[in-house]
């Protein structure tokens, strides 16, 4: 499978990139990590007129501690996130999730921004960003705007980013005292796309779950908050009964997609199992603090 013909450009600045995007519009594809774009090109599923390589845009790189949040540049490679002490110390949910992302070679090139912008429904980073209530910064010919993660993921591979905008960075709030994080996913093989997954941020004191954010990925069209499950656990003491109640709420929260790996019923069941296990793990972590 050889890619179809296309033009290639490697802008040195964001404004050059915007110029190209405006010239080619829908016929352009942005090349960042390439781990998702290149397979579609090689398989001729995508036949753009131009591939715009943004890998030289230094302003999109780097991880920095901004005090109340951590800034992760869109071009930050997954491996940099994995090896960052800032992430380990200040973003424990990301630190727990990142080893699940694909494999070594993919993490060496794939980018945080690429994962968020593509918004594959089984991807880990979008789910974590949503759980953390992060903010994404996009920039276009008309300037920058900030979009809350809650407002960013619209549907299957559809986000709030306009076609002429480039994702610049993610801003993820640092862990606050009292917050615990837990991440679980089920994949057929290590590094595979998740069949089901939960990213959880909770405030737990004693055995009481004061509040929790449960984000589901791998089963829905986009990373999805389990609103009913979250409401069911708010202010409650952790118990087996609570676990059942919270899981049952997913019947309304989730509408899993059937695919080659399993039925909607299977996915819903797995998300319920993961919910109980994730909350149990969060409670354990709170106890250990």
């Amino acid at each position: 499978m050889k890619a179809p013909r296309f033009k290639y450009a490697r802008p040195g600045t964001l404004s050059e990139a915007f110029g190209l995007l405006s010239d080619f519009g829908e016929e352009a594809r942005i090349l960042a990590g390439g781990q998702s774009l290149m397979p579609t090109l090689n398989m001729r599923l995508s036949q753009p007129e131009i591939v715009i390589d943004i890998n030289r845009l230094d302003e999109l790189k780097g991880i920095s501690d901004e005090g109340d949040h951590i800034r992760i540049g869109a071009l930050t490679r997954h491996v940099e996130v994995l090896e960052s002490s800032i992430v380990t110390d200040k973003l424990p949910l990301i630190a727990e999730a990142i080893p699940h992302v694909a494999h070594v070679a993919v993490r060496n090139r794939g980018t945080f921004g690429g994962s968020v912008a593509l918004a594959d429904p089984a991807a880990e980073m979008p789910a974590c960003a949503l759980a953390l209530q992060g903010t994404f910064v996009v920039e276009g010919p008309n300037g920058r705007r900030e979009i809350a993660a809650d407002d960013f993921f619209h549907s299957l591979y559809e986000t709030a980013r306009a076609p002429d905008e480039i994702l610049v960075e993610a801003r993820l709030p640092v862990a606050q005292p009292g917050e615990v994080f837990a991440f679980m996913e089920l994949a057929r093989r290590k590094g595979d796309f998740a069949q089901a997954g939960v990213a959880c941020k909770a405030v737990i004191s004693g055995d009481v779950i004061e509040s929790g954010r449960l984000v589901y990925f791998g089963s829905e069209l986009k990373p999805t908050l389990g609103a009913g499950a979250m409401a069911a656990l708010e202010g409650k003491s952790w118990s087996d009964d609570l676990a059942e109640t919270v899981a049952a709420a997913l019947d309304d929260d989730l509408d899993p997609m059937e695919n080659l790996h399993g039925s909607a019923a299977m996915k819903l069941h797995l998300q319920k199992v993961l919910t109980k296990r994730t909350l149990s793990a969060a409670v354990e972590k709170a106890r250990a603090v």
Binding site: A3, R5, F6, A9, M38, N42, V79, R109
Partner: protein, 163 residues
Amino acid sequence: MADEKIDIALTVNGENVTATVPARMHLVDFLRTELELTGSHLGCEHGICGACSVRVDGVVVRGCLMLAAQCDGSNVVTIEGLSDSEEVADLQDRFVERNAMQCGFCTPGMLMTAAELLAKNDELPREQIREFMSGNFCRCTGYHAIIDAIETTMKDRKAGGAR
């Protein structure tokens, strides 16, 4: 600026290379057809099997998922270069002794990935060696011998064995 034929200048296995490449040509096709470095292999061209693994700017990547064009200015090391440098000569010897390959098609990719494992870790439990290697498909060995060879090399190095 936007073109279908791109001039590139890069380093491959320590040698300066200049070429004009089709924009659509991926790195491994460039290495194999333009530079006749046939040690990197193609098993899927969609980034799953790892047969195409090469080192670009110091890290192992899926060579089929990089355009030759985007490697302008980069430092590329293939299995040929890795071999000549003797960086993993001990690992290669263990592979032969342990018969950690059969058809050999996955082997260059396995070695490129294992080289990164060894560079980043001086000690790793067996399950984590398996995890590190879990992005490289082998159909012949069932992995047991490959993991043995890597584990032995790691232990020998830690014990101060010759590299």
